[in-house]
Amino acid sequence: MSETSKKKAVWDAGIVKLALLHALVKLNPRTMMKNPVMFVVEVGSVMTTLFLIRDIATGASGTGFSIQITLWLWFTALFANFAEAMAEGRGKAQADALRKAKTETTANRLLRDGQMEIVSALELRKADIVVVSAGEFIPGDGEIIEGVASVDESAITGESAPVIREAGGDRSAVTGGTRVLSDKIKVRITSNPGETFIDRMIALVEGAERQKTPNEIALNILLAGLTIIFLLAVVTLQPFAIYSNAGQSIFVLVALLVCLIPTTIGGLLSAIGIAGMDRLIQHNVLAMSGRAVEAAGDINTLLLDKTGTITLGNRRASEFIPLQGVSETELSDAAQLSSLADETPEGRSIVVLAKELCSLRGRELALPAATFIPFTAQTRMSGVDMDGREIRKGAADAIEKYVGSNGAQATNELREIVERIARSGGTPLVVADNRRPLGVIHLKDIVKGGMRERFDQLRAMGIKTVMMTGDNPLTAASIADEAGVDDFLAEATPEDKMALIKREQAGGKLVAMTGDGTNDAPALAQADVGVAMNTGTQAAKEAGNMVDLDSNPTKLIEVVEIGKQLLMTRGALTTFSIANDVAKYFAIIPAMFTVAFPVLRALNVMGLATPQSAVLSAVIFNALIIIALIPLALRGVEYRAMSAAALLRRNLLIYGLGGLVVPFIGIKLIDMLITAIGLA
């Protein structure tokens, strides 16, 4: 799945060709029946065709008009099918790319006795254990139980940079069809053939598993109801016409019916839904159901992890603050020494800062007689022992305990600095040399650029953002303030997150969150939209209803936007479709009755040439508008972050008022054209 395939042009020649074929296949009444509006169009087309055959057989006059009406009625049904086929076609192209990743592979299955056997990947079952070495494809979805490896996951993510997968922790899940680039891992298979992630993904993008979403069902009911009303209006019109001595032909009646029933939205509805899923996939997010995409539009509260979403993910050393009587160089030197073996981003940033501030060059790790003391959960310190010095850095309370009485005189000053840093949102790390506190390293969270603007936009749309962090409340408050989130949850445990979600939901709100760890799984399952990171554990992926292949927590915001866009597109086209009917009445009703009542010409406000041209123009417009709106249905209406009131005003103006006006112009133009070329 390359970049280019993700952003396909709407009218891709290959897709169009296939869609044309599928449009014909979909005329099968059993398929059409699922869409009541278009089914009525098909029944109407069959009726006019039968009457046309009778007319031709009996040599009736005026069949030219009847032929054209019948043709355009069929086109209406075909165009709707074409729209759906186009949307599906785009998914199919993606599925084909995925299938390539599903090449036949063999697996080294580990037997109970420690022996290995080579089997086909298709024979693997849950709980089998396989060994995958560098250069081999991982034969199925699973969890690494031993080893660490760099894996090329470009087949599913499109991202060419390899990712690290290792046993234990939150990065243990591997996906079948991806390739191990280095090292060797033992993998416990977690899915049977045909149920793997790639299988599911193919089914999703192909729309094979597509079920109508709740809102789609409701909208379909509305459209079916409107169709029945119009059916009534048209069927009863014939008796009224007969009473008025102006009985109508079946062609005109069916034409009126097809023009009135909401074919525009009826024809595009499923395409809009498929395209919505497709847009998510283009953002490398897989939604497990369309329901989740709809829910995304409704989200009231976004739970965002601080790290990686709001901040750059890693704190950086920004300042060394020495205690009185200690020089900055002395502190910098000790800080750098203590961090030489510290491979965490924080540790590295300390080394870099010391280099910048005091031109202390990075020293060789292999200093003689240096023993590096790694960070442990018990001591909560790390550092180095060398040349008889014991250099340590760590959390303030840990160091305080460590220095014991030695630091007594410095306690007050130290506490003051530590508190000041914490209050400003930073993380203080105290450095001590031979149990003597030297000073404090100020680690700072860096808020990502542009986050404040995005949160402002979300707020304008009525969405509350809550930052979740393991930091203490003071730190959390400061970052929350800097980033502009509405609320924060400090020292958050998975239970806290769960409680927060339940509390919001009890108030009737819909909550979205991202997560990757196994301990996030319950919260992901509880949330209305739970986006699991692809790098996360299998449990997290199973619990969420979306998976982000890029494992980018900021994506949650885009997911919400895509959900909203999907719903907006549906609403806009429904409004447009209904508003269109006004013009169609003004075209067809005078055309039907000017023969009996010439005064009804007054209603022919468009000045259409003849009754035949008027009916024909309305039918042609009705069919062509479906084609004209396919790009809008597939791309979605333009999304803007603004309040609901402003959005409504804007969209009502464009699609409501536009829907009233556009067909008057369109029908008039078509009428002029077909009159000019002598079709009517």
């Binding site: 409107l226 009224f240 009131a645």
Partner: protein, 592 residues
Amino acid sequence: MTLDGWLQILFFLALIFAVTKPLGLYMAHVFNRERTFLDPILRPLERLIYRLTGVAETREMRWTEYAVAMLLFSLVSMLALYLLQRFQNFLPFNPQKLAGVAPDLAFNTAASFTTNTDWQSYVPEVTMSYLTQMAGLAYHNFVSAAAGIALAIAFIRGIARREIDAIGNFWVDMVRGVLWVLLPFCLVISLLLVSQGVVQNLKAADTARLVEPQKIEHVAEDGSRSLTISTEQTIAQGPVASQEAIKMWGTNGGGFFNANSAHPFENPTPLANLIQMFAIFAIPAGLTYTLGRITGAQRHGWAVWAAMAALFLFGATAAYRAESRGNPLLAGTDQRASAAQPGGNMEGKEARFGIAGSALFATVTTDASCGAVNSMHDSFTPLGGLVPLANIMLGEVVFGGVGSGLYGILIFVILSVFIAGLMVGRTPEYLGKKIEAYDVKMAMLSVLIFPLVILIFTALSSVSPRFGTSSIANPGPHGLSEMLYAFTSGAGNNGSAFAGISANTNWYNTTIGFSMLIGRFFVIIPVLAIAGNLGRKRSVPPSLGTFPVTTPLFSMLLVSVIVIVGALTFFPVLSLAPVVEHLLMVAGKSFS
């Protein structure tokens, strides 16, 4: 059109605006079972009723139980009225010695008064005894109105409640509706009307000697002419004022006399006319405030009120304009308003009400599902007559019938929210309640029933010379209007007659009877289903992302949806009836 006429219309709307809040607040108290100033008198009476009937006043009902109670109550009441009419000749209070009512007419009338329609296929003063009028018809005027209000309140509760599977107690809502909302106000209105000259007695008709004997020429079917000279006039009377009050206050509309509110004993003065129109709109307008009050969205209540007011002004203006212009076929006659004459099309109108008073009354009575008339809608110009017809076709949601107007417009609110709500990028929600498939299904059902009944029965009548077209007085488009109006009025539970159609036939009595029953109960059941379903739902707290239902834009949207749904459904038939008739009239053609 005159300044005086415009002032009448605007003053009337100002009065309705003024009554909305106090009456709405009062009704909110009544149905929340909170204290009101009438409690000292009415509470003991209410308790007595519950003790006698065994109603547990604090027990609430699910929507299904509420619906069954309402249906059973209506069925029993309807049967009672049917029997009362059939056997009125054996019963007291029948000084005119009127015979029992024929079965088809008795069915039609029973259906009519049970459904708050008050369609009258008969001439009341020569058909119904005083007992039938007071114990049968007036009783129904009260209970059918109370049932309407109860349903609206149940609907409001459904919107306001959260995760509660009950929408109130039908019996309690009925009793409180009658005792607190209907009776006391009717008492006051009756007295006001009596002060204007409306009669109230139980005497048989008087006869008066004519000052100038009238010659009446009859033309028999064979063409022979005969002449009768009339020297006496029968002056019908009876307990009119009490009937009149509930006829208006409960948007019933069934007149004591055939001429309805055009009759000087029913509606003697312009002030009486104003009181009557005010009485029609007061409760429906007040209920919009009750809606806002109980749901805690007061501005939404006003937004609904504003949509109604806009539609009202539009209709009143159109009718007033059309009637003031007069009839172009009478060119050469002076039809201008002057000090000496009201001008315009005065055919079928009372001189004491003039053009504005008649056009306004016609608009008000059809905006609401009242159906009382103070002028003959059949005699309106085609466009003037289109206004009452269109008002009913829109579903009588412009203030509307007592209760039915509110739940009617709330169905349109739900549809508006559903259609346009998606455009704000959320699944549709109304005052915190998600509008889902079930709600849409029920809303569509109740919207569908109405055109179904009207269009099918009118279509059948229009192509059936034996049953349908034989009853119409005028051929051509106007005849179609007459049939269309009859079924529209029936299905819409309006009850006003376009007249010009002999509706007292087996066919019309039966079909209009069914139209009324279907138009009422098949709409109510989905309405209650929605109420029950909404009450069970969680509520989403409002935010900036919530679809706004309190803004002028929303009111405009609501008006557009009501007009577009109505227009799309009825435009074809209307274009063959009043529209073409108007165009023909302008072109100088008439039918006879």
